[in-house]
Every structure is written in structure tokens, then in C-alpha cells.
Amino acid sequence: MNYTFHWLPAFRALPEMLAGALVTLEIAVLSMLLGVFFAVLLAVASGSSYRSLRALAATWVELARNTPSLFQIYMAYFGLGSLGIHLDSFVALLAGITFNNAGYLAETFRGGLRAVPQTQVRAARSLGMGQVQAFRLIVLPQMFRIVFYPLTNQMVWAILMTSLGVIVGLNNDLTGVTQELNVRSFRTFEYFALAAVIYYLLAKLVTVSARLMAWRLFRY
């Protein structure tokens, strides 16, 4: 092995990479917010009495779960172009990850909903609460606890998935920045090792803050 590691240039690029990490976090957070929104719609649609709505929800969920996330991002970037919809790489990445998040979270929410016993609703209604009140005050908070852990898992997944943006030409997220630096200098290992450390810390940031939040939120 006659390779000399050059770590200094990599560390000099740290500010640039951290700025990229911020973009990564931004995409992940946005994709989760949008993903939760669409997942709720999908969960509602899959319990609807309209056949077409149910079919639409089922198609979305099954496609999201049974094709690679990279494929989904590709579709958003290249595939939609054939229909005249041209998304830039940032939006395409966001759309792809959102699609994926929503598909997985819809199943999570459905499971969470089923896990809250019907007797809780009964007890709430017997106290004079309306259907909406019972859902908001009794079912939703309990469901939130059940889906909290899968939700944080999906958030970590979302962060990891953002790295795929580079394949559709995104150059300002953590992987994109790292790749630009790599192309300029060919110190592949050093740059990507540093990126790996940053991704690891981002993932830990999410899991640790989730644990703290859970500890504050769920005292029961």
C-alpha cells in the first residue's frame, strides 16, 4: 500500500461540507413534512368508500414500497420530463423522497390507527364528545405515540435517501458537495470518509433528539 492519506484538504473543506449538510437536513425535513401530509391523505383514502380513491392510495403505497427509492427519484427527474413536467434536481429529489415517505408512513399510520382500541372511542363518546373531538383528544395522541418510533426511523431513512440527489445532478447537498470536491482533487476516500462521519452525526442527532422528545412527551 503506497497511498498517502491527505486529510488536511478534506478538513479545510469542512465549512463547505457542513453547508451541504444543512441542505441535506433541509430536504429531509421538508420531505418528512410533506410525506406526513400525503400519508395522512393516503391513510384516509384507503379507508374511503370510493373505489377509485382506494385504488389510487393502494397504487401509491405499493409502488413506493416495491420499487427502489432511486427509481422513484429517477422517475421524478427523467420520467416526468416525457410528460412535459421538468423538475430541477432539488425538486425531483424532494418529490421522490416525499413519494417514498408517504407510501411507508401511510402504512404506519393505518397500523397506528388500528392499534388504538375502539373502546377508547366508546368511553370518549359516552362522555358526550363528538366524533371529531374523540378522535382529536383521545385517538390522535395515543396514535402519535405508537407511530413516533417508526416516524423517527423514516426521518433517518430520509436523510440517507437525500444522498441519491447526486445521481440526478444535485450539487449542493452533502453528497453533491463532496462529489464536486472529489472531482476537483480525486481525494475520494478522504472526502467521502468525512461525509460519512457527518451523515452519521446527522443520523445520531435525529435519534437522540427523538429519544429526548419521546421522554418529554410520553410520560405515561
Partner: protein, 241 residues
């Protein structure tokens, strides 16, 4: 002021569980409903506050038809408290919050008012020491007493008890029955579906014996329990005593 049940029929699918029940409970009365499991007595309770729809007949609470179209069930349920066999505590709320929730959100009381009511009702059932713990930390008997306080916090005119001691460990039954005795002594109108024959005999003005979806015998406890006329009642009492 009364609950009037008039020829009520109720089926689940093809299974008819209540087959024409007629009974009136006057304000201030305590009526116990006894009978074997599956005889339809719990279902009847659910029908009284509209948690289960009925197939035919009528139920009038203070003259309001529970199952008529246009009846505001949410409003009606404010005056009918119900306590379930499985106490159904809200696990994500503390004991105090469990009891405060409905007065605040349903009756629109202020936080201070709701808290005052909740503390009063919880003290009444002997849980003044447990205000800020979560239900998971309570014994079954304590959770059941909390459920009673939760229903009482709505200041109901009627209380329905659905086998409230059946899911409890034997040594916890007494504390819940004591709470119910207290309520009856205060003049609360109560319908108790129960397996506690001695309790029924002691607190009730009348006892109804349910069998296969019908009331076979109804009257003062001294008559129905002490001197039953129907062979089914005799057989049932023999099996449980």
C-alpha cells in the same frame, strides 16, 4: 324524570340479543340487572345512551327519544354517565386530566372550574392522593373508581354501571362497591348490571332478572332474590350463590 324502555329489540346481524324489553326507571331509583352472561343486559345499557342503535321500540330519557333522528346524542349523554367493565382510562392523561377533560371540552368549563370539579369527584371516590399519576400506575380498582369520578364530573342525572367489578381481582371489588353504595346513599339514579347478588340485594330498590334477552322477573330484591317465582330465576340464583 325517568328512563323509559319500551319494547326494545336489538340484534347483532342475525343474532337477536334483546327481545322486547320494557322497563321504567324513575329518578332516584337504583335498579340492578342480573342474569347469565350473554343474556343481553350489557347491550341494553349501551342502547340507553345511544352507543348501540336499536332495531325497534323506544327509549325515552326525560321524555327525549334517544334513537330518534335529530336527537343530539352528545348533549343527551351529558346527563347519562356510564362506567364500563373494562374501565377504559385514557392512558395518555393523568388521573386529574382524565376527569377534567370532558367538563372542559364538552361542557366548556374553564380550566380552574374543571379542576375544582375533578378534585372534588376524585376525593369523593378516594383518589385525592393520586391526582397527578398516570392510570398505568393505578390498580384496577383505582382505575375503576377514577372512571366513576370521570363520569360523575359531568354531573349526570343517571349513572349506568356495566359489570364494573367483573374484571377486577376479588380483593379490589370491595372498594368499587363501596363507592357505588356511597352514590346510591346520596340518591343517585343508577342502573347496575352486576354479578354481585349480595350487593344488588342490599342497594337496589328493584332487581330485574334477565334471561335470553327478556326480563323474566322484576321487583323488590326481597322478592326477586329472596323469593323468586320463575324457575329460571331460581336456577340462576342457585348457580351463582
Amino acid at each position: 324524570m325517568s328512563i323509559e324502555i319500551q319494547d326494545v329489540h336489538k340484534s347483532f346481524g342475525s343474532l337477536e340479543v334483546v327481545k322486547g324489553v320494557t322497563m321504567t326507571v324513575e329518578k332516584g331509583e337504583v335498579v340492578s340487572v342480573i342474569g347469565g352472561s350473554g343474556s343481553g343486559k350489557s347491550t341494553l345499557l349501551m342502547c340507553i345512551n345511544g352507543l348501540e342503535p336499536i332495531n325497534s321500540g323506544r327509549i325515552l330519557v326525560d321524555g327525549t327519544d334517544v334513537h330518534a333522528r335529530g336527537t343530539d346524542l352528545n348533549k343527551l349523554r351529558r346527563k347519562i354517565g356510564i362506567v364500563f367493565q373494562q374501565w377504559n382510562a385514557f392512558p395518555h392523561l393523568t388521573v386529574l386530566e382524565n376527569v377534567m377533560l370532558a367538563p372542559r371540552k364538552v361542557l366548556g368549563k374553564s380550566k380552574a372550574e374543571a379542576e375544582a370539579i375533578a378534585v372534588e369527584k376524585l376525593s369523593h371516590v378516594g383518589l385525592a392522593e393520586k391526582l397527578n399519576v398516570y392510570p398505568s400506575r393505578l390498580s384496577g380498582g383505582q382505575q375503576q373508581r377514577m372512571a366513576i369520578a370521570r363520569a360523575l364530573a359531568m354531573s349526570p342525572d343517571y349513572m349506568l354501571f356495566d359489570e364494573v367489578t367483573s374484571a377486577l381481582d376479588p380483593q379490589l371489588v370491595g372498594e368499587v362497591l363501596d363507592t357505588m353504595r356511597l352514590l346510591s346513599a346520596e340518591g343517585m339514579t343508577m342502573i347496575c348490571v352486576t354479578h354481585e347478588i349480595a350487593f344488588a340485594r342490599e342497594v337496589s330498590n328493584r332487581v330485574a332478572f334477565f334471561h335470553k334477552g327478556r326480563i323474566h322477573e322484576i321487583g323488590p330484591p326481597a322478592q326477586v332474590i329472596g323469593n323468586p317465582q320463575q324457575p329460571e330465576t331460581v336456577a340462576f340464583l342457585k348457580s351463582v350463590l
